[in-house]
Subunit: 442 residues, 4 copies
């Protein structure tokens, strides 16, 4: 009974982690298990056919199963019971053969996480596309770089977008790696030995994994949750990455900065009291969703200290924490994508906001050394603060500065366009790397 | 659209935090606001009547409101719009007069939290009743105390229950204090000045709070979330307290310890593979729910760093984190109550498990001093380990021990029943304090 | 061996939680225990004198004790051994009589937390004093209120300071309440029964608590950590409150906002590359310290699920998490105080930043109703955006607006000074409440 | 000024993250930067030599630098100043050329993390060696598998050790991958453009990275902390893995289970009150350290939402959180290693603890189908509970069971040694995979 508050999820991810989808994936496991066991000669082929035929989610009363799970302790117990009733006599005795509750629940969750990772990669590529477009379009759009919220040197908006892009690229690559490495079937039976399958145990695991399109683990992993924790942590990092982009967006959208704004849309971002407001709604909800996602990570992480062959609490908490984490992460990604896709960039305002800068210091340093240059500019800045003059005028009026720099040199030093260093190279690199990863994951 | 997975919530708490209940509480705010403003002469009386008449939750399409909130940024915007359409002409212009989205959303959440706290107190008292009954019944039931999971001195099961009771009592008292102190109305208008109400602002706040049965805050608190964080933290502590009791229960229910077991019930606690198992399902889910609840606390806490007069993300994340927190805490409390109410206590097994103890050391220490006594008992214990003898026989065979203790004195020292110190006094104190608090909160 | 990175602590708090202070508090417990036991007739008076005489921290090799604690599992074991060696013969057999390691470690930590809470209250009052001064000085200093980082209605800087003050006042009151309620002695012996003290157990607890100036708990609380968790959570909330103030400060100090700046001081807040920068260093470190403090809260909270009569891990983690929490919280408070005490407020810039506002909507709403007013202002704002005109001119040019408002009325509506509602009342209330709490805690 | 409480760190990791080591690494950056810039023709070769000659950590007053960092906001500012004073005239003007504070601090931290990861891999291999030895030695040591703390099917202790080994192997592989991918130099200058280096920027980055033995990032990453967060998360997962092993150890070491105990050592694991106790001290402290480590992960994760080109708080909090995380993780790993290396395994007790099992159900199921078999065994188990008989006797006395199983078949079914399924294969796989990874990382 996963939540689906549309403010903190997306319809696609909500479908993947719905109760119906979870039960459906559990039935997929039971069908594939029967078929794998038949193929390995463990159960009769007709039994497997009968079981597979009954594994249709529309035949089950999902809310009733969830209610029965409350006293039972797992969904598997009422589901296996209900499934057994649905199976024709030739298969009835072989339902869930050799499996334990955790086998079916964990594998169903892995199948859901596979879909969830694939969806996240797809949506992160949409974020990447938006970043790449901004990086190219705004390669020459000068704006102030800001450190500790103070204007520092000039950058370009293209460089900023390229940094977002680089980070997004790494998230895509990481999720893709996890998709290949961490998605393994769970099948070990009651204590992880596959005892009831005799010699056929590992063969059944392989056939089962093949049918479900999952990897084969070295060993069952009922109480070793490091793969799950790694996925959870990766989603936390994805959310953190989205929060970084969203933080930049809300800061740039401030009334007093006004360098970007989220695109207008019907019903979007107004205020119930103030008609003039245009709120950065998508970035705000990306931040909220990222907070929720990051909050779910420690639940999974601290739950790793699992007791012996099956845990009391740490495992069960995953059933709620993992869906919450995928929903919130999907929401954070989608909200960032929306914000970026419709982003209105005010390049004029960016240029206007560009103020005094480090460039003068560097120009002076080449002549008088860095410490002296630093002191000279600090003095000039003090005059700007006191007299309200410009840095250019203060520099021109400073005899010590004029002793080493001509007016032309001062102008050149204060021209931000000549002062963006390796920004272009960095943008190119981010674009190249993104295109490589994009091609590889698809 | 709050979650309602019955495995991690209770029906009563799910009702309090349902989407319908949230919208209903928002409408209650709008009606009370109109009436308060009419009473203060800010809007016409007929307008207030018209608005109040329209504030009926069954008239609104809740899922549609939630969907519209996604672009709008708050539920308040589509709700105020939909409400305005429902109001007859005389009131239409005065809907939501002078209020901002956060006023109605926060106050609705406070009303829900009030119900949530009251429900938690009620269920914690049920836990307290169960603990009190166990403390009385098992006042003389000896069992091993265990430190670092090793048997230490004897205690009584009544003392253990009394310690659970003391902790539960403090939780009741804390939630009751919060109910009285932290539940205040939110009403400040767009920037917290009540600017649009002129001089009538604070009067309207008082009338509004009175109608809703809430406290009046010194100032609006849109971006000062300490009261909310305090409630969240208190629920985290309640959950931690429940996790402590549940931890004890799963440890005592272990096959090899076997001192308690959860009561049997149809559909409860079996295994899909092993018919002989009787799993501590309630305690297990109490632990899982407590993990989820504790995981929501940092979301609220870290969200306190709110930007200026309304936050980007930290506030909105509360909309999901607070309901999740109340649901999971309620589940943890209810699961502990169920486990305790049906608890089967095996007093014989407890007595059997009681092993060697500190008492001999203390008896010796009175004669030869603590360091020498410690060494003597350590040597005797070493012989028990090597020869498989009992501590009594090892002590009787030790000449140094026999030089200072007679056989009777050794037997007395090894009798756990004479070695439970102040347990009775502690049990009495816990019961008295619980009854005081119980009487006070009702 | 507590950390003492001066960037994330204060010298005063580092002294309270130093290893020396911890061992000193443990010795204070041992001395007081012996004296209490002598007063209760449990041990000879000369023994107590001998023990108390030896409890001098300068006699002990602190680093050696910490190293010995690694295999021993607690500091108490090597300390009791070392103390016993220091005690003259008449007391040697009575050292640590009837106590367990956790009794002395917990009580020492409670004594340290008492000092820590008192120091935090003192420093929070310094924050409160600074807020109160700003609230009074800037009662009439108009500035933009900002919601979702967009300019909303005007507020005064005094109101903002009053809201910080209200939040700070509540933190002082909460810590003061905890100081009175949660600081209780720990004394229960090996399994919490005080078994080795016979009938004298509870009398010794009372005498011990009295000597140490601590409260008497109903029962020992070795594995019921709710009081500790409550203190930890309260410090988390204090840190969150400081983070809220610091967030406002860094936002207001942005180059493009420029409404406040931290006072200059030698060595403060420059950049290694850019001489013109004046970084909000104190607010930045308050935010960093608050993050660290809030990160320690879940360690204590999740550690509450303690095993039976003494925990494996959850208790021991407190030894590091609690000092870290006090150090980081103290740093957050102190950094906010420094930022506020030296704060430079640019009232002219605040006035300049004040832009368009809700007031026009409200003026129109009184004539044409809220929905129509909202639409009219929205249209006017659109023209401001398109044509770069002012809102005043756009309103004057709008026939529908002019049909209901005169030029004077428009000017009045757009005058922010007439639009700060109940700000003054709120400021007064915050000041009054602060003074009450200030007087009460001292 | 990192903490070094020996209870929650190891001497080796404390050395890597000491204040001296941090400043030393910063100086290593400054020397390498100067040399790289000289090689790229940006500064004179003599300047680079002069700078490199001065970069000797023993010349600097570390505590004074930390104190000066408090107002300055970073260690880099006082360090660059102090270094400049130490450099001979030919180099003085070129110290820190083109760099920003964050370049040197981040790169120093990356160098420390490189050493930290290498040390963790080494110690995890020691854990792996211990697990591998246990897996081989106890390949045939039968013991109860336990799910939800109830005895389930038999397993072998070798299988349990193999599962720990599999998890440990994955941690080694993950840290090794991070060592190769995530350890990149930071160098971007004041706003990440390398503006002051003109065209030579990216060339200097490459030379600098080469000298330091670090990777070259596509772009500077001042405010994109995903690599750092990934490292932090990976350490959290390592800690969780150690907590899983330690949890198993404390549960198996319980007095009533008694299947393992930590080896005795002088000064280890006693009780200040009870001489007979042998506490699982190493496992307990592994659990405590893991809690502290996992508590540091959210600090780094939530800090990812960094503001623009340099963060206010999220970055600075890493300076304390990352060292804490490495120290606590190292302690958790080392404590687990100690516990495993000295582990005393009581194979006789394990065999004795083995109780009733699922095997009878499976034997029956082959004849009467799973549902009927389940019901029959459930009934037999009920008789065991009521009459105190053995499951064998109950089965022999049950006519329905006897109708399908002979006495021999019942005995065979109840023989746990014939019921460990694929355990051997799983053990082999874990050993093979471990040896592969072990060879690869060294």
């Amino acid at each position: 009974m996963s939540p689906a508050n549309p403010m903190f999820s997306t319809p696609e991810m909500a479908a993947i982690f719905s109760p119906e989808a979870h039960v459906g994936r559990m039935l997929e496991f039971e069908a594939a298990l029967a078929q794998a066991e038949a193929a390995a000669g463990v159960i009769p082929a007709e039994a497997a056919q009968a079981i597979a035929a009954a594994c249709r989610v529309e035949r089950f009363d999902i809310p009733a199963l969830y209610r029965a799970a409350v006293p039972a302790g797992t969904l598997a117990i009422p589901l296996v019971r209900a499934l057994t009733e649905q199976v024709t006599p030739e298969g009835r005795d072989y339902v869930h053969w050799g499996a334990t509750s955790q086998d079916v629940i964990d594998t169903a969750m892995v199948l859901q996480m596979r879909d969830g990772l694939t969806l996240l990669i797809d949506r992160l590529l949409a974020v990447g596309d938006a970043c790449a477009a901004l990086a190219e379009q705004h390669r020459r759009t000068l704006m102030p770089g800001r450190t500790l919220m103070q204007q520092a040197l000039p950058i370009t908006f293209g460089l900023k977008a390229a940094r977002w892009l680089g980070m997004t690229t790494r998230q895509v690559a990481r999720l893709d790696a996890l998709r290949r490495e961490a998605l393994v079937v769970q099948f070990g039976g009651a204590a992880g030995t596959l005892a009831s399958l005799g010699d056929a145990g590992t063969r059944v695991v392989e056939l089962l994994a093949e049918r479900l399109g999952l990897g084969v683990p070295d060993l069952p992993w009922h109480a070793e949750r490091d793969r799950v924790a790694e996925i959870a942590a990766a989603l936390g990092v994805v959310s953190g990455a989205m929060a970084k982009i969203a933080t930049d967006l809300v800061l740039l959208a401030q009334t007093e900065v006004g360098e970007v704004s989220e695109g207008a849309a019907p019903g979007k971002g107004g205020s119930s009291a103030m008609p003039q407001k245009r709120n950065p709604v998508d970035a705000t909800f990306a931040l909220a969703a990222a907070r929720l996602a990051m909050g779910a990570v420690p639940v999974v992480l601290s739950g790793m200290a699992q007791e012996q062959e099956r845990a009391v609490g740490g495992w069960q908490a995953e059933w709620e924490a993992l869906p919450d984490l995928f929903l919130a992460t999907a929401s954070a990604v989608e909200r960032v994508r929306q914000a970026l896709d419709g982003l209105e960039v005010d390049a004029v305002r960016m240029r206007e906001n560009l103020g005094i800068s480090e460039s003068l210091t560097m120009a002076l340093a080449r002549r008088v050394g860095r410490p002296a240059a630093y002191r000279l500019v600090q003095a000039a800045v003090a005059r700007v603060r006191e007299d309200g003059t410009t840095l250019r005028d203060a520099a021109l009026a400073d005899e010590q500065i004029r002793a080493v720099l001509s007016e032309d040199e001062i102008d050149q030093a204060l021209d931000p366009a000549g002062y963006i260093g390796s920004a272009d190279v960095f943008i190119d690199r981010a674009l190249v790397r993104y295109r490589e990863v994009r091609a590889a994951v698809q």
